[in-house]
Symmetry: C6
Subunit: 86 residues, 6 copies
Amino acid sequence: MPLAAQGEKDTKSDTWLPSLMTETPQEGFELAITLARKGVTSTQSNKEVLFREREEYSQDADSLIHASEVIAAYFQTVAAANDYWK
Amino acid sequence: MPLAAQGEKDTKSDTWLPSLMTETPQEGFELAITLARKGVTSTQSNKEVLFREREEYSQDADSLIHASEVIAAYFQTVAAANDYWK
Amino acid sequence: MPLAAQGEKDTKSDTWLPSLMTETPQEGFELAITLARKGVTSTQSNKEVLFREREEYSQDADSLIHASEVIAAYFQTVAAANDYWK
Amino acid sequence: MPLAAQGEKDTKSDTWLPSLMTETPQEGFELAITLARKGVTSTQSNKEVLFREREEYSQDADSLIHASEVIAAYFQTVAAANDYWK
Amino acid sequence: MPLAAQGEKDTKSDTWLPSLMTETPQEGFELAITLARKGVTSTQSNKEVLFREREEYSQDADSLIHASEVIAAYFQTVAAANDYWK
Amino acid sequence: MPLAAQGEKDTKSDTWLPSLMTETPQEGFELAITLARKGVTSTQSNKEVLFREREEYSQDADSLIHASEVIAAYFQTVAAANDYWK
C-alpha cells in the first residue's frame, strides 16, 4: 500500500519524538530535518535502497530544493510549537 | 471523476478517524501517516494497484521526499489540534 | 483562460458548500475530499475527460500522493474551521 | 523577468479585489478560484496564449490536481479572513 | 551554492520591503507578486537569463499554475500581516 | 539515507540560527533565504556538487519558481515569529 512499509513496525516501538520543544531555533531546525527523514523512512525502511537513492537525488538540484521545502513544512510546525522561541 | 473511486463507499461506513487528539507527538506523527494513506486510498482503493505502484515509487527518491511532504501537511493539522502537545 | 471552464456556470447556481462545519473529524476529511474534487471540476467540467483522465492518474503513484497532498491542504482549512473538533 | 508581464499594467488600475469577505463558504471558494486565476493572468496576460494552454492542461489529470491545489492555498486565506464563516 | 547568486549583493543595499502592510487586499496581492519575483531574482539576478526563461515558462500552463501557487504562499503571509483587511 | 549527509556534522557545531527575530521585513526575507539554503546544504554539503548544480538550475525557470516557493514557506514562519513586524 502506498505510504506504508512492512518493515517500519520494528522501529515504531522506539520513542523518537518525545516532544516538539527545543531550546533554540537551530535545534528546532534540526528536529525539522529529523521529521523530514522520518517521513521518508516510514515509507521506505530498506537502508540499501535509501543509500542508493540518496546517492542520486543529492546530486540533483531540484531534489535538493524539494528536500529544503519539506524541511520548511516541518519547521513551520516545530516553530509554532515553540512559540517561535520568542 | 478525478479524486473519486467507485470502491471507496464500502469503507466509508467504518469509523477510522474518531479524533485528531493523540497522547504524544509521536502518535500524532503516526496519525499523520494514516491520514496521508487515507488520502491515497480514497482515490484508489484497488489493493492490487496500490501494491504494484508502491513497489515502484518506494524505490524513487523524489517520490519518497514527496511522501514525507504530504505527511508534513497532515502533521501540521494534527499538531495544531493537540496544541503542539505543550 | 487557465483555471476556468465554460461549463462550470451551470453548477454554480447550486449550493454545494453551505458550511465548513462537520460533526466529526472523519466527516471533515470527507468534506476535504469534496473540496479537492470541486477544485478539479471547476477547472474541467467535461465528465468524459474527467473519467478518461481518472483512469490514468489513479494508476500512478505520484498522482495518488499528489491527490493526498491536495486533500491535506483542504483538510487544514476544514479542521481549523471546526476548531479541530476539540 | 519571471513572474512579470508587460501587459499586466493595464488591468492593475481596475479594482478587482475590494475585500476578502464573502457571504458564504461557497462564495469564498469562488473567490479562491478568482485569486488563482489572477495569479496566472498576472504572469501571462496574453489571452491567445491562455486559451491555447488551457486547452492542453485541462485535459491533463496532473494539471487539474495542481489547479485544485492552488485553489486550496487561496481558500485557506479566504476562509481565515472570514473566520471560517462560523 | 544553490539558492545563492553572486550578483544579488548589489541590490541588497536598497530597501524594497519596508513593511508588509497595505491599504487594500488588492495591493496586498500585488505585494505578494513582488515577493514571489524577489524570491526568483535573489536566486538568479542575471536579467538576460530571466528574460529568456520568462519567454519560455510564460507559455507553459504548468509553470503558470506554479507561479500562481507561489504567489498564493506569499499572499497568505501578507494577508495575515494585515489581519485580512477586516 | 535520504535527507542526510555525512559531512553536515562539521557545521552543526556552529551557531547559525540564534533567533528568528529580525529588525525589518526585508531582513526577515533574507533570513528566509538563509533557511532555504540551509535546507539544501544540510542534505548536500559538497560544495563542488552545489556549485555545479547551481549553474544548471539557476538557468531553469521552473527551478527558479520552485526556489521562490521554498523561500515563501520559510518566510511564513519568520514573519509569524516577528508578528509580521506590525
